[in-house]
Symmetry: C2
Subunit: 357 residues, 2 copies
């Protein structure tokens, strides 16, 4: 039977060889004759996994020892709270850009902790573009952005120069393209798009921004506790981190971020070109801000949907239904998505136009 083309917005597609290795480790990890699901996280074999995963993140970001990397549970949603808890001072304020659902949630949590200003928003047009040309206050404790918006399909193509530490939620486009990581004070990302399965979240932070709030902190919410514990203050999400390590190793071994960036651009171009050419579909996002990860488009007539749904199902195209806030379709083109699957989708779109026409 033909393979399933997995366009899921997340948890999303992972490399086939990673899935094979993950399955094998469930039975016998590292020739220990034990499953990775039942070994101590303090065993030397597993400590090596955690160390490699953390180093791979630093390698892929090309940062030095002024940065610390650790994995946590709780998803990016927990980071929405932990970022202000660790960085927002009592008399200071944080500056946020609101580019959609996830940014809004981050803002909501920051407001519970301290003063928070929304300095730019694209809410006026249902988040179908990325705000630009705003000024970042020089006296903010930090400046928070969301690099890619999974739901609305927008992506920041460049990052404003900031006079204060920049914090970025990169959950849905992490390691999909070159960024200058040294421009950021803190980057976080739920693993379940480009970095592994659900259940672990990566935090990379430049150490000098920590320890400034005087807040008496709960241990599990204190970045310094996790740094000191070398990402094992308590039992980490052992298997999710292992599969994340395999995914990062796959990326590095195949050529790293510059390799995948080219492929991701080809995939996105292929699909956006078809959306723009095809009279039956229309993109939802301003062209300059279109995400290379999450491609949102609508049928030009609502009644097309039922027939198109039938045709994509016949080709085993999966996970392409648009988010309820946008409707239509959303094709997620994460790192592990082969261009062949995008061709299959584009071919169905062409066939649909022919059929309708």
């Amino acid at each position: 039977m033909a393979k399933v083309h997995n366009f899921s917005a997340g948890p999303g597609i992972l490399p086939a060889e990673v899935l094979q290795q993950a399955a094998a480790a469930c039975l016998n990890f590292d020739n220990m004759d034990l499953s990775i699901l039942e070994i101590s996280h303090r065993s030397k074999n597993y400590v090596a996994v955690m160390d490699e995963a953390r180093q791979l993140i630093k390698d892929l970001f090309e940062v030095g020892n002024e940065y610390e990397v650790f994995y946590l549970g709780g998803g990016a949603s927990l980071q929405f709270a932990m970022v202000p808890y660790n960085l927002l001072t009592e008399n200071g304020f944080a500056a946020y850009v609101n580019t959609g659902v996830w940014a809004s949630k981050a803002i909501k949590e920051a407001k519970i902790i301290g003063n928070t200003k929304v300095i730019a928003s694209s809410e006026d047009k249902k988040f179908n573009y990325v705000p630009k040309g705003y000024e970042i206050p020089k006296d903010a404790d930090y400046f928070h952005i969301t690099s890619n918006n999974t739901i609305y399909g927008t992506q920041m193509k460049s990052f404003p120069k900031s006079p204060v530490p920049t914090v970025c939620d990169m959950s849905s486009d992490l390691f999909s393209r070159k960024v200058n990581a040294n421009d950021f004070a803190l980057i976080y990302a739920g693993a379940q798009k480009n970095m592994g399965p659900a259940g672990s979240t990566m935090v990379m932070v430049r150490k000098d921004v920590l320890g400034k709030t005087n807040r008496k902190m709960l241990s599990m919410l204190d970045y310094n506790v996790h740094i000191k514990g070398e990402s094992m203050y308590n039992t980490p999400p052992v298997f999710p981190v292992y599969v994340s390590m395999l995914t990062l190793r796959w990326l590095k071994e195949h050529g790293g971020v510059s390799w995948i960036e080219k492929i991701n651009q080809q995939k996105a171009d292929l699909l956006y070109n078809e959306i723009d050419r095809n009279e039956c579909f229309v993109g939802t996002v301003e062209k300059a801000d279109r995400s290379n990860m999450n491609v949102c488009f609508l049928p030009t007539k609502p009644e097309y949907e039922a027939e198109f749904d039938k045709m994509i199902k016949a080709e085993r195209i999966d996970g392409i239904k648009g988010h309820r806030d946008v409707g239509g379709y959303r094709a997620s083109l994460y790192n592990a998505m082969p261009i062949e699957s995008v061709h299959v989708l584009v071919d169905v779109m062409k066939a649909f136009e022919k059929k309708i026409g």
Copy 2:
């Protein structure tokens, strides 16, 4: 080659059939032709997993709809903070019993949040017994205990009748024996002993104890948010919850808690009887408080250790080294540990005595 006998204190041994199913799902989950590591947590196949896992917990605890169950990331350590965050009022206080490292950590976090009294402790004897005969203050917001102490090998054999809601950390003996769950207002447990792999934590709470603090709460730390989100407020730890569900299903299908309790008693009796009989070893814990999950013992002469270590290694006995706070040996006998492995250990202990004698 002989199998490895996995006495790890946690993450600990899981049933062989669960490991097989977990490995298979990494390649093809539920005949979807997709890995469980790359599917949406909102897919109907996965929602069914989450629902089954939550229901299994209620079934095994034999509780009704006044209780809610959900899974979180972050381990029991995050619950050390979330319990007081959700239950400890501004002018109230919490009553804790200190029975070791984990209870101490829970107390430390509670003190950051509000007034906390330690009403009993076994610290005077390096936590080698469980305090008894203390009075639980009638005006406490809640009473917190740790049912089993993984590090020191003690276990509460009964639970005091409490005039206030009882909160229990059952991380290391959950579902190993019958307890009257209806006597508890809140039970939490890191999954990585009797309930699955690392990466998810179970919380079961009686709804009436929530919503009393007037605290403005961060979403991810608010139990009511997770209840309302049916354990999917945000992306859950998909795979850890799946393997937890398989482990709970295994337990229920084989006869449930009353079935495993008998086997666990046989395993513990077998090993403790040998410790008491054998002149080369001595238990570390007061007999009445010995844990059926974590059996701690020392060689009667320190110089025995090198030779005994060699002998257990030859039999592929793994994960039995004692915690650095106690020394010697700790054999963890979690639900999935077959009695055959305990026989192998006991036989080595007998052989060692013979050799020394």
